[in-house]
Amino acid sequence: MIKMNKTLSAEGVSVRRGRQPLSDSSFLLTITISMFIAIYALAIAFLGDKGFSKIQMFFNLFNENAALIVIACGLTIVMISGSIDISVGGVTALICTACTVCLNNHGFNFYTALILALAIGLAFGIIQGFLVAYMEMQPFIVTLAGMFMGRGLVALIEVNQIQVRNEAFEKLSGSRIIVPFLGDYNKKGVFIPSKLEYGVVVAILIVIVCYLLLKKTRLGRSFYAVGGNAQSALMMGINVRKTRFLAHVLCGLLAGIGGFLYLFHTRSGSVQQATGLEMDAIAASIIGGTLLTGGVGNVIGTLFGVLTSGIVLLVVTAIGSQDPWWPQITRAAMLCFFIVLQSIICSRKKK
């Protein structure tokens, strides 16, 4: 019960934090943030000539990873509630292909495509949530089936890679926001302002909304309670099944938004698209301090998790190894490091 009080009331957390300066979650978060800053600083110091000293590089990190940030937020919510969803990559591929086909051949515009994307994401979320929460099936099996279902449906719709051919959509997707006062000088000394994609703004907004949802609302606190200990949550009168169901629905919705951002960024669809996206999203959540066992984590950490793995990949590519295998191996090594770290922290807590 004490533990529940601690996780359930927002005030309780802040009071306890005063006494106990570094909880496990914030310890992991601190590691992630300092790792991000350290890697970025080292990259600027040693690889500055490869573009790391440019401010645009920092914004490109966001431009490239906007979709991943949104999807990883959804996974963080699901993981906090003690479940998991590995279907997001398949869902993203399905959204990209379905929206592309509709934009090209069925006269869809930006808004109807967005609605289609959200509908696909929600449909996956609702079905998987129902199976996990009300049928008590293992989330990994259910969402593994969802992952293959998503990718398989892509092949049923369209086997080849297709590009968006819709002028209005392409124009909107190609436009950028100019960041005031920030920018780089090129070789001729001309000032080039930094550019952001619209997707980044959406992603940042979603991070803020998720943060507030998890910290301030009743639903958000019950995610933590259910993930921390479902038995106690049930005794406290929380509807455990409904909470789990809603966590999956939210993840599905965010996968829908993320999938649309992915389409907005790449403007194409194919069967092989977004392979391993679910692994990237899970890795980002874990790196950001979300515990696999549930009940601990927050989306700010996830944001930094995405940025950290993004900068590591950039550094690995910039170090100049032409071999195509290093990015995947580095990613896996980083995942391994954080998983083992978590496990050690968890076992220490038990003692």
């Binding site: 990994f140 398989g152 899970i282």
Partner: protein, 368 residues
């Protein structure tokens, strides 16, 4: 009098039917039978096996059944390992496909060296086989340490190699795509002069070894004990961590053998496309065999039959001209139906103890 005996006879018949239906192998065998019937319906010559000659003029057996038995080899071998892993650690190993890429990379590197079109084998096949198995067992040991020592859920622990495995395989091969000499192909195709495909014989040997190991050693018993209750088995003097570790190493050995056969089939390996999404098929085979995916008791014969069933399904979908990338849709649908049947909620609707289980359901005790 005759009426009475008739009644008794029908009662006995009903009881016999009930026994057959309740038998744990009923679902897998029934599913396989239905699939074969469907296949015969689609293609009347499905069951025909004839004697033909291959390009070198050697006698070989030809037929759909032979093809299914042949192509199911990797699936059967992996399903054996996966059954043990599932039973002991209450989770599945999703890195098997990626690990096969690593094993294939090791074998190709040993046999071909740095050449892309070698004219001879650079190492004896037996050495390549043993080192391939060793590579598979090392992968298994890595997963096993994470699961047994660090208490990480199996699917998350194997996620690491799932992410990295195919890249590691490519790295081992140095980015080359060598093709070994065709004499290496006898392990994945035919031994000249012998009409039965070699993989079928290897499968038989592996099944017999597994059968003996489960009969003669405590492997099966210990695995079940750890899977059913981790703590109770510790109190009984077992070491649950060691048992889990051993099941993962056995899984690695199975991956080694499967990778060897797979790389011998076409004598070349592309780590990024070798055995795509086989982990799904293997898990499906285990589930289809009547095993609970949340560990505990297991049924090895069921898994083997399940693997053949999956291969029959795949070959049927291929006959129906379904796109290779779309095949997972059907398998995913089947997986969901099978797991729904296994859930306690659905089972409780069909059992007499429904009230009791409904009282305990929803306590949120499951957390994979």
């Amino acid at each position: 009098m005759s009426k009475n005996s008739n009644k008794q006879g029908s009662k006995a018949f009903a009881a016999a039917i009930k026994n057959v239906v309740r038998h744990r192998l009923f679902i897998p065998i029934a599913f396989l039978a239905i699939l074969i019937l469907l296949n015969v319906f689609i293609n009347p010559g499905f069951l025909r096996i004839s004697m033909g000659r291959d390009s070198a003029g050697n006698p070989v057996l030809i037929g759909n059944l032979i093809n299914i038995l042949n192509n199911a080899t990797e699936l059967v071998i992996l399903a054996i390992g996966m059954t043990l892993v599932t039973a002991a650690s209450k989770g599945q190993d999703i890195s098997v496909g990626a690990n096969i890429a690593i094993v294939g990379g090791v074998i190709m590197r040993l046999l071909c060296g740095n050449e892309t079109q070698p004219t001879q084998l650079h190492a004896p096949v037996i050495v390549a086989f043993l080192l391939g198995c060793l590579a598979g067992m090392l992968c298994g040991a890595f997963n096993g340490i994470l699961v047994a020592r660090f208490n990480i859920q199996p699917m998350i622990a194997t996620l690491i190699l799932f992410t990295a495995g195919r890249s590691i395989g490519s790295m081992v091969m140095g980015g080359l795509k060598p093709k070994a000499v065709s004499s290496f192909g006898i392990y994945g195709n035919f031994i000249p002069g012998f009409p039965v495909p070699t993989p079928i014989i290897i499968t038989l040997v592996v099944i017999i070894i597994t059968f003996i190991a489960l009969k003669r050693t405590n492997l099966g018993l210990y695995t079940r004990a750890v899977g059913i209750n981790d703590k109770a088995s510790r109190l009984n003097g077992l070491n649950p961590a060691l048992v889990k570790f051993i099941t993962f190493v056995i899984m690695g050995l199975c991956v080694g053998v499967a990778g060897f056969i797979q790389s011998s089939r076409v004598q070349t390996v592309n780590p990024y496309t070798i055995v795509p999404s086989i982990e799904m098929d293997v898990i499906l085979a285990v589930a289809l065999g009547g095993n609970s995916l949340s560990g505990g008791k297991f049924n090895m014969a069921g898994s083997v039959i399940g693997a053949y069933t999956i291969q029959t399904l795949t070959s049927m979908l291929t006959t129906l001209n379904v796109n290779t990338n779309a095949v997972p849709v059907f398998k995913a649908a089947i997986i969901i139906v099978l797991v729904i049947i296994q859930t306690p909620i659905v089972k409780s609707f069909f059992s007499k103890r429904a009230i009791l289980s409904r009282l305990t359901a929803g306590s949120g005790k499951e957390r994979s």
